[in-house]
């Protein structure tokens, strides 16, 4: 079993590398001279999608072997869930690709999947046993449907992002250019988190504090990165470790805030370096890539993926969720923050569909809504688990 678990990790690693290589090929496909309308047959793109398919098969292998090794569907902690979400994102991309054959989609969808996998591996990766509440077939049914729905919805974000990169006139500046740059900056921050967390973990950095928590009990806490902020009445236990001694309020989760500060710091430095070296905004760097993109087509893909994803998300995030909650927690709805954010996501996409259908919000506005929708999904995936604790907060 332990051996199977290690095979599983290797397969995930291979998938990661293959997605990376596939991205390069998709990038090559849109550079190709013969490529005028960005769809249809193209040798680079064919290689790109083939490698993507092999990568997906490898990730599927990771999923199955880990399932066998642990004895339960590997969607039970943050690492497993986010990785699975990335896998569903790639699957959604593959499906949409085979419908529309729009090559540019691969150039953006795959890097986002890569970043999400990298992000997921910052959480504890060991296989954990299931607590009683999770011991149900509904775990796999509910979580996988939610992830699939969210991943299909995320494709509308990818299409929307490409749409906006092409549609917004960056030379004039303005609000839209600013917000687009902010979205890209947000993505770079995630990269900042991955880089700083990986660097300190490779270096083996660790420190420990004792502190007094909000219930006025004394406990200890681990820091994986040098402490820029310390917990309430925190005292450093590890010798030689770094600490600024800047104490936070008892309600603040200091180690998490510390990680956020590091990520923003590293991300900001990365961003500034890019700007200094290239002397352009990040949006402007990407714009040449999307020069030939077809706005109609992107708009259609964005809407289509919301249409396909919305019923799947409703089924997984609300219907299956309620059925399971009724069985496990005696009531189908309990206003737990994670539930509420699923409801918010659902209401948001319902509003999206209404605005599009009845108020004619197409093109640029629709693309912005798709971006905001993705931000809400990510918020529920990441922030609600880490910041707002509830029944769903994984170990």
């Amino acid at each position: 079993m332990a051996q199977l678990a290690s095979i599983s990790s290797t397969l995930l690693y291979i998938a990661f590398l293959l997605y990376l290589v596939a991205t390069v090929f998709f990038a090559g496909s849109i550079k190709s001279k013969k490529h005028t309308n960005q769809t249809g047959k193209n040798r680079w793109a064919t290689i790109g999608i083939t490698i993507t398919l092999i990568g997906f098969a490898s990730q599927l292998g990771y999923f199955i072997t880990r399932w066998i090794a642990s004895g339960h569907a590997p969607v039970s902690n943050l690492f497993e869930f986010i990785t699975f979400f990335a896998m569903m994102l790639v699957a959604s991309f593959i499906i949409i690709y085979f419908i529309y054959r729009l090559h540019i989609l691969g150039v953006f969808a795959l890097p986002i999947a890569l970043l999400i996998i990298a992000y997921s591996s910052m959480f504890p990766r060991d296989i954990s046993p299931l607590i009683p509440a999770l011991q149900s077939d509904w775990l796999a049914i509910h979580v996988s449907t939610v992830a699939a729905g969210e991943a299909i919805l995320a494709i509308s974000f990818v299409a929307g992002l490409i749409f906006l990169l092409k549609d917004i006139d960056l030379s004039k500046g303005g609000k839209q250019a600013f917000w687009l740059e902010s979205v890209l900056f947000g993505i770079i921050l995630v990269l900042g988190f991955v880089l700083s967390a990986t660097a300190f973990s490779v270096a083996g950095y660790e420190s420990e504090f004792t502190f007094v928590n909000a219930d006025e009990e004394e406990t200890t806490v681990q820091y994986a990165m040098p402490a820029l902020v310390t917990p309430n009445e925190g005292e450093l236990l590890t010798e030689g470790a770094f600490s600024t001694g800047l104490e936070m309020h008892e309600l603040v989760n200091a180690p998490r805030l510390n990680t956020v500060i590091w990520s923003i710091g590293v991300g900001a430095i990365l961003y500034l370096l890019i700007r200094l070296i290239t002397r352009r905004t990040v949006a402007a760097l990407f714009q040449p890539l999307v020069k030939k993109a077809n706005l109609d087509m992107l708009d259609e893909i964005g809407y289509r993926s919301v249409l396909i994803g919305f019923p799947v998300f409703t089924l997984g995030g609300l219907v299956f969720a309620m059925i399971w909650a009724q069985i496990a927690w005696t009531r189908f709805w309990g206003w737990d923050p994670k539930e509420v954010w699923a409801l918010i996501t659902w209401l948001f996409y319902a509003a999206f569909l209404h605005l599009r259908l009845s108020r004619g919000w197409e093109g640029n506005r629709s693309a912005w809504l798709a971006v905001i929708g993705f931000v809400i999904i990510m918020f529920n995936l990441v922030a609600v688990n880490l910041i707002i604790a509830g029944l769903h907060s994984y170990a």
């Binding site: 046993p129 009683p132 706005l295 409703t314 927690w329 005696t330 954010w341 209404h354 009845s358 108020r359």
Partner: protein, 560 residues
């Protein structure tokens, strides 16, 4: 009611935008609107667009607006988001009043939160009002559109006026192609794609998946049923939410069942994962410590015979027998019992010995059942020795006027007043015994009571639930899902073919969504008839200049 008479002679009701017979635009305003917008409800008159004078009109128009509907959805969404900033009232510790809790824990922000009612958002009157407004809006908006749409789609004419066809997004006039043979072939090609083709005077109307247009209306019906179900919760008798605390070995009547059902707790088990259970888990267990594996109550369900005396437990018949676990409730009648809580190791029995102080030798041992102490009883020990329990204080809290006090009947801190009888002291000596305490209130004694261990047992907390609204909610949910799926995964597609004068063939196509799919769907029929695909006159403006060039050359239009 006034009518609008079209050039073709057809009388249309007031408020119509397109003539229901030929498809000509009837008003200047309609002519200026985007075709897609006019086509959404087939240019039919809608109440909300026609009448504006009475108060009822105003209310109707307000709620039928999608703008209002979306605004209501956004308000609900934002309110719910704010409601997750701090925990809701039902998640905070029960022993502190909410007024104090929010302010003391979260400061001024917490106070504002509380004052505005966000601490009990979902029970607040304004949140209920918001949901009610959404429900009203869904009903009115759907009626306002659904009925005219249904009527319009039911009685479609095949032949439409040229202006109607020309305004469609998919439209081409093929010059010199209007032969019967070509039209026949297009019809044949479309039939192969499962279009229903109607021919009239040589013109064609091909249509498929009209049912998908009812998707939104069906899903709104589902939502309304769901909301009604959620409200029925407040009708007495529909919903039971009780907790049953039951000790190991105990049999108790199940609250909410009117003393009809009883449950026996045959033992409570709490298991945790151990290192070595499975090698793949070891790392996690080392990192996080104990992880719970199972909470389980072995339960026996009894039903009381109908003619048994109320409150008695004598005539019970076993009806079910199984382990209640998290995720595995026990179901009976309309009830379900869920494993939701537990208390481990509650004090059950205490063992004592009576010792001779001088020698330290015990003269006998006895056990007090903390739930069933023999207050008037006597524990007989060896010959000539006995202990009388003269006072029992299960939740001892101190003395008041020399009298021991008990806070509750639960044995949280048991204390006892004993009278020790021995051959030397046939009237007995008095001892007060509590945890870590041994008093001799009436002067020094020769004998003493010493503590000799305890027996504990677990308490299982079961939630008793009856919810008669579930099937309504399930029905609403199923209808909602059905409506959403047919509205999202199928599209209503139509193609009009018209034989014009001078051998001109007009072809137009319309779909409510997924234009790309429509184009791909109909292309083979045109190819079969020897024609190019009809053109897509997309309305989306491209701001980038390079895209405009492509647009002119037509490359963006063809996705083969």
């Amino acid at each position: 009611m006034s009518k609008i008479i079209c050039q073709c002679g057809h009388e249309n009701p007031e408020g119509s935008e397109l003539c229901q017979a030929c498809g000509r635009t009837l008003t200047e305003a309609a002519a200026k609107r985007k075709t897609h917008d006019v086509m959404r409800y087939e240019g039919m008159a809608r109440r909300s667009q026609t009448y504006h004078s009475s108060i009822i009109d105003k209310i109707w128009n307000f709620f039928s607006s999608v703008k209002v509907g979306v605004t209501l959805i956004f308000i609900t969404l934002v309110a719910s988001a704010i409601g997750t900033i701090f925990p809701q009232e039902f998640f905070i510790p029960q022993n502190i009043p909410a007024v104090e809790y929010y302010e003391s824990r979260y400061g001024i922000a917490g106070k504002i939160y509380y004052v505005l009612g966000f601490h009990d958002l979902y029970g607040s009157w304004w949140f209920m009002l918001l949901v009610a407004a959404i429900g009203t809006s869904i009903i009115i908006a759907s009626l306002d559109r659904g009925i005219p749409l249904y009527k319009a789609l039911k009685k479609q004419r095949v032949e439409r006026h040229d202006s109607f066809l020309k305004r469609q997004r998919i439209y081409t006039a093929y010059e010199g192609n209007a032969s019967d043979d070509v039209i026949e072939r297009i019809g044949e090609g479309l039939r192969k794609r499962r279009y229903k083709v109607k021919a009239e005077n040589g013109h064609l109307l091909a249509e498929k998946n009209r049912f998908s247009r009812w998707g939104p209306y069906i899903n709104h019906v589902g939502l309304i049923i769901f909301l009604i179900g959620a409200m029925l919760r407040f009708v007495p008798g529909m919903y039971v939410d009780e907790i049953l605390w039951i000790r190991e070995g105990e049999t108790r009547s199940i609250p909410g069942t009117e003393q009809e059902y009883f449950l026996k707790n045959d033992g409570f088990t709490l298991e945790t994962y151990q290192e070595g259970d499975s090698e793949v888990f070891d790392q996690t267990i080392q990192r996080t410590g104990a992880i719970a594996k199972n909470f389980q109550t072995d339960a026996i369900l009894y039903k009381r015979d109908e003619n048994a005396v109320a409150g008695s437990q004598d005539e019970l018949t076993e009806v079910d027998h199984h382990a209640i676990q998290v995720n595995v409730p026990m179901k009976f009648d309309q009830f379900a019992l869920y494993q939701t809580d537990y208390i481990e190791n509650e004090l059950y029995k205490m063992n004592f010995t009576m010792d001779n102080k001088e020698t330290g030798e015990p003269v006998g041992a006895f056990t007090v059942d903390l739930f069933n102490p023999e207050t008037s009883g006597v524990y007989e020990l060896e010959e000539g020795y006995s202990v009388e329990l003269t006072g029992y204080y299960p939740d001892f809290s101190g003395f008041e006027d020399g009298e021991p006090q008990s806070d509750s009947p639960l044995p949280n801190n048991p204390a006892f007043l004993f009278n020790m009888v021995s051959p030397e002291h046939p009237d007995g000596e008095v001892a007060f015994v509590a945890i870590q305490q041994n008093l001799e209130p009436l002067g020094p004694n020769e004998y003493e009571i010493s503590f000799n261990g305890i027996e504990t047992r677990d308490l299982s907390g079961l939630t008793v639930r009856k919810d008669l609204t579930l099937w309504i909610l399930a029905l609403g949910g199923a209808i909602f899902m059905f409506g959403v799926v047919i509205g999202a995964y199928w599209n209503h597609r139509r193609v009009w073919i018209k034989k014009g004068p001078d051998s001109i063939l007009y072809a137009a196509g319309h779909t409510n969504k997924n234009w790309y799919g429509l184009k791909k769907d109909i292309a083979p029929a045109f190819e079969y008839a020897g024609l190019d695909q009809p053109m897509d006159h997309q309305e989306l403006k491209e701001s980038d200049s390079s895209a405009k060039e492509e647009e002119e050359s037509g490359t963006t239009r063809q996705h083969k």
